[in-house]
Symmetry: C2
Subunit: 344 residues, 2 copies
């Protein structure tokens, strides 16, 4: 049996167009409709929701869309996350079906197709974007899903989610640097358009204020998550501190990549991370322990995230979390302390 | 329906023990056999190969075991590989089913179970180890599979494979450094136990000899794939070169991680990669373009690898490769040239 994507490729149209041909043919030009209809017939595509009866109910599959990244970007804990997700699903007798789809709303017909054909019973979403359109769409179609990550800048979340308290993670990093004697703690961030970044930055700012530490001119927004940008921002911070006679002695970076940039700039200046300047990253990616000094970093509880995602999606009894409960789980990250903030 | 793994967990034994209980009960102690049999009954586990008839033939699923890495290690192009594998499978109307299994031979009952229950029709293996036992086992059980990577140190490969010509990749790197004026080109390698490492090292050595370049004391085996080890090996090479009055001016690293270590050591000494010393990595991972100067690196043709894997597994017509043909595909990597070897 052909898939929606194969029909789209055959007719040389988008999956949305095929979906329209089936559900809203009046939206298509006659020529296009004819071409799509012909491909549907030739490929014997059956968008029949009764296809449900074809599949055994023995094993439920959960769909997960592999993100496609522009070259030069990566999800450094992706393999850890997938391993944890599979393990959690298998504990309930389920498996993960991987698929690809266009990003954003354009990919939704692929989700719809997989669900309609009963290949999967629900979806785990990740790489949640600010104003992510997928959640609302799936909710409207009554397709079960759970999200790793919140839909930022929406007051109500459109469905069940598991997320990590990024603000709390950065707050912990600031407190740790404070406790190791740092008094001028900067923050390396991403652009303002990222809801995730604003959340983590707020954790840094609030905690600095609580501890009566300065914040003015100490948050730098790096345009991209690159080692180079982290180094450049660090150079700027160190130079400004020297000029003003108030040297920066702590750096909380929003990612391990930016923290690696900070470490590189310190080394280039003959400074030692953990001695003159304490540095922390975020994600506790494999990079954190391949550098020297090793990087102190905020670790997301990947196994717990995966377990909660599967529990919320499948309604299995999940470990109760008195702090959140319901269908929302905000998990606490953990600071893994290494040489970049605490030598010896 | 319960899975083999669930039965094993329930009876608190390994999956191999459950498999033995079903196929070779005489090997088990009576107590253990009783416990496993009870779990099989309680969970209603049916290891019935006729389960085949339960599943619709509409969609074939291909199994891929997510590797579990010790913390601090990672597969930097994992998400690229998975995306390419899904795309290639979807082009043939198939999908990828992800699963977890114990490493090595201990995991084979999980493969057997997934296949016997007709959840998957075959497997894609990766992270092939020297003397990998999985290939022979699957072949013996007549379970379809294809391998990304050769089983090293075996004269005959136990099944179809796709691999990248690592020797040719390193040869290209040496030639590129030679053409940009380098005459003393070192090699950063992994331990001798890795068949993959020996293959790549051979490419460096042969090409150096062809070009009449020295190789003595210029290959260093780093005990681990860590930035630190790459930096330490580079320091050793640079020191030895200075002492002998024959400075190293090129470094071919077997991985991007080791190359990053080389870049770090050069920076620490006030040297510029691409100017005083040309440096190349391997994998063209996302790290290659987040450093400055960006890293010249040998890129594996991920999309082509995925397409060939799926073609070999499903017997779809594959692009003919006159150089290899049959069920073995040795693909040529490509050198992506950046600032670390060719400034400006």
């Amino acid at each position: 049996m052909a898939t929606l994507k194969q029909v789209a490729a055959h007719a040389d149209v988008s999956v949305q167009t095929v979906s329209n041909a089936l559900n809203a043919p009046h939206r298509l030009k006659p020529d296009t409709l004819r071409r799509v209809t012909r491909s549907i017939e030739l490929l014997n595509y059956k968008p029949n929701r009764n296809a449900r009866s074809l599949r055994t109910s023995a094993v439920e599959l959960i769909g997960y869309c592999v993100p496609s990244w522009p070259h030069g970007q990566t999800h450094l804990v992706m393999d850890q996350f997938l391993h944890a997700l599979c393990t959690a699903a298998e504990r309930t007798g389920r498996h993960i079906l991987l698929f690809t789809a266009p990003t954003g709303i354009d990919g939704m017909p692929v989700y719809d197709d997989l669900h309609a054909r009963r290949l999967v019973d629900g979806f785990v979403l990740s790489q949640t974007e600010t104003h992510d359109p997928r959640h609302g769409w799936l909710k409207e179609q009554r397709i079960p899903f759970v999200s790793f990550g919140r839909v930022w800048k929406e007051t109500t979340q459109p469905g069940p989610y598991v997320d990590v308290d990024g603000a709390a993670g950065c707050a912990t990093a600031v407190r740790h640097l404070y406790e190791t004697g740092r008094r001028r703690i900067a923050f390396l961030s991403w652009p303002r358009t990222s809801g995730l970044a604003e959340d983590r930055l707020a954790g840094w700012r609030t905690t600095c204020k609580e501890l009566e530490l300065p914040t003015k001119d100490l948050a730098i927004r790096c345009p991209e998550d690159m080692i180079d940008e982290g180094a450049r921002a660090t150079a700027k911070l160190l130079d400004a501190g020297l000029e003003a006679g108030t040297p920066v002695d702590g750096i909380v970076a929003i990612s391990d990549i930016l923290a690696l940039g900070a470490l590189r700039e310190l080394t280039a200046r003959g400074l030692t991370a953990g001695v003159e300047v304490g540095v922390t990253g975020f994600d506790d990616s494999p990079l954190a322990s391949v550098v020297s000094p090793a990087l102190t970093s905020v670790r997301q509880p990947i196994d717990r995230i995966a377990t909660e995602l599967i529990a919320l999606l499948t309604d299995s009894p999940a470990p109760a979390d008195p702090a959140t409960g319901g269908t929302e789980r905000l998990l606490q990250p953990e600071l893994v302390i290494r040489g970049s903030s605490a030598p010896g």
